[in-house]
Amino acid sequence: MINLVDTLLQGSLLGGRYALMALGLSLAFGIMRLVNIAHGDFIVLAAYLALVTVQALGLHPLAALLIVVPILALLGYAVQRGLLNRAVARDIMPALLITFGLSVIIQNGLLEVFSADSRRLQAGNLSSIGLSLGEGVSIGWFPLMTLLIAALVIAGLEQFLRRTRLGRAFRAVSDDPEIVQLMGYDPHHIYALAMAVAFATVGIAGVLFGIGTIFDPALGPPQLLFAFEAVIIGGLGSLWGTLAGAMVLGVAQAIGFRVDPGWGILFGHVAFLVILAVRPQGLFPRTRDA
């Protein structure tokens, strides 16, 4: 019984990390119908950026967020405006190929600059201290913090999309990029701003990823896979759905780890496939697409 509670808790907390990783993917798909194959590599890139910032300025890794997040947002704007806008709107395929190319470039670029050695952002005892919830059940502060940050970011994004002018323009361009022009909005600019927001979440995910685990240049693709699974399980285009999907994925992995330490990832993939087979629209699809 205690084992079960503990497993569910650890899995849900793991879900916080996956949710944070998946948000950018979910936003980009929701607004632009664009799947960014390099998403995981940008997360790893953000972790390295945090590493450089921490080493150069002697900051605490969490303080590096203040530098990494704006840089990633700018990078997101530039990537969308300079590259992806040429491909989006026509078909889903060209954007897939471009971001696949970016993925290869980022991995090899990181390998060249930082070598294949594993790194970690040193955050003192933040990543080791925990909170005991009674006999046999304890949770780590850092995973808890990650989950709370994920929930806060989602709540903030939801409010932003619902209540601000720019958020309204994001929803409108997702509905009908042609008609948005008649409202005086340049869809290319709106797309690039949306990608900037998506990349800002990638920056947050990258820094927390770097604190939570050791990383190396090759870790992008698995992060993309987890993020992708979380988005699909949750239902395309819904941010809270993405959190729910990430938690399902996390719990499935935690159960797998409990059964056999080598089976955790496999159980996550199986849960994904089962949901894809049983409920292909995901748990909480955006109603208008249903």
Partner: protein, 232 residues
């Protein structure tokens, strides 16, 4: 001076030529109707004016050439299009659909309150999703959304398509108010009676060309049906 002038306007969809040298003008405050059969090029012409379809030839709006400008810049200059099929944003509420029309607007007489006063039945439904409204109400939202940009020229594509005659009458009834607030109007209309009743001037399109133009009162019935259907 004319508010809008198109001269020798042509447009292509791939190899298919949709417009052949259209000459067209609108004076400030004027209501102009474009009639013609399906496929005559009316919608293409409006979309070309709004910058959604690439055209060759010349378009001058308010004294400046606009035919090389992207659609969002043309919209900000005060040329608004109510597109065929209304094309409201399904994820936005009625009020949001209206408000987004005013996001990039210049100063002018229209605001959310004024538009809701023009179409009172939208007031109580303003929190509803735009797609939950009836066709006529959706058309009102589409017009209101365009008005929110405080346009100098309002282009309306097929306002009456699929709507009951009484609803169409209600919609055309707001034209005098729009005009009084300083906008000229161009309507593309298949309902010839409606178009002739509302317009100061009328153009008839046939196979991508202007087959007839003039003042409704001066044009004979036969003349119009000949220009419309191409019968001789």
């Amino acid at each position: 001076m004319n508010l809008l002038e198109a001269s020798g306007l042509t447009a292509f969809y791939g190899d298919f030529q949709a417009l052949y040298g259209i000459d067209f003008a609108v004076a400030p405050g004027e209501v102009v109707a474009i009639i013609g059969a399906n496929g005559a090029g009316k919608s293409t012409f409006l979309r070309g004016l709004a910058g959604l379809v690439r055209t060759a030839g010349g378009i001058r709006f308010d004294g400046a050439a606009i035919d090389h400008l992207p659609a969002h810049v043309i919209a900000r200059r005060g040329l608004a299009l109510v597109p065929e099929g209304r094309r409201l944003f399904p994820s936005l509420s009625v009020e949001e659909n209206l408000a987004i029309g005013g996001d990039r607007a210049g100063a002018g007489p229209w605001s959310l309150d004024v538009v809701l006063e023009l179409f009172p039945m939208l007031h109580e439904r303003r929190r509803a999703p735009a797609t939950a409204l009836s066709g006529g109400q959706q058309q009102m939202v589409a017009i209101g959304r365009a008005l929110m940009s405080n346009p100098r020229l309002l282009l309306c594509d097929e306002l009456s398509l699929g709507l009951a005659p009484t609803v169409v009458k209600d919609i055309y009834a707001v034209f005098p108010r729009i005009r009084a607030n300083g906008a000229a109007i161009v309507v593309v209309e298949q309902d010839i009676g409606q178009a002739l009743g509302a317009a100061d001037r009328v153009y008839c399109f046939q196979e991508g060309r202007v087959s007839l133009s003039g003042h409704p009162r001066e044009l004979g019935r036969e003349q119009i049906s000949q220009a419309y259907f191409g019968l001789h």
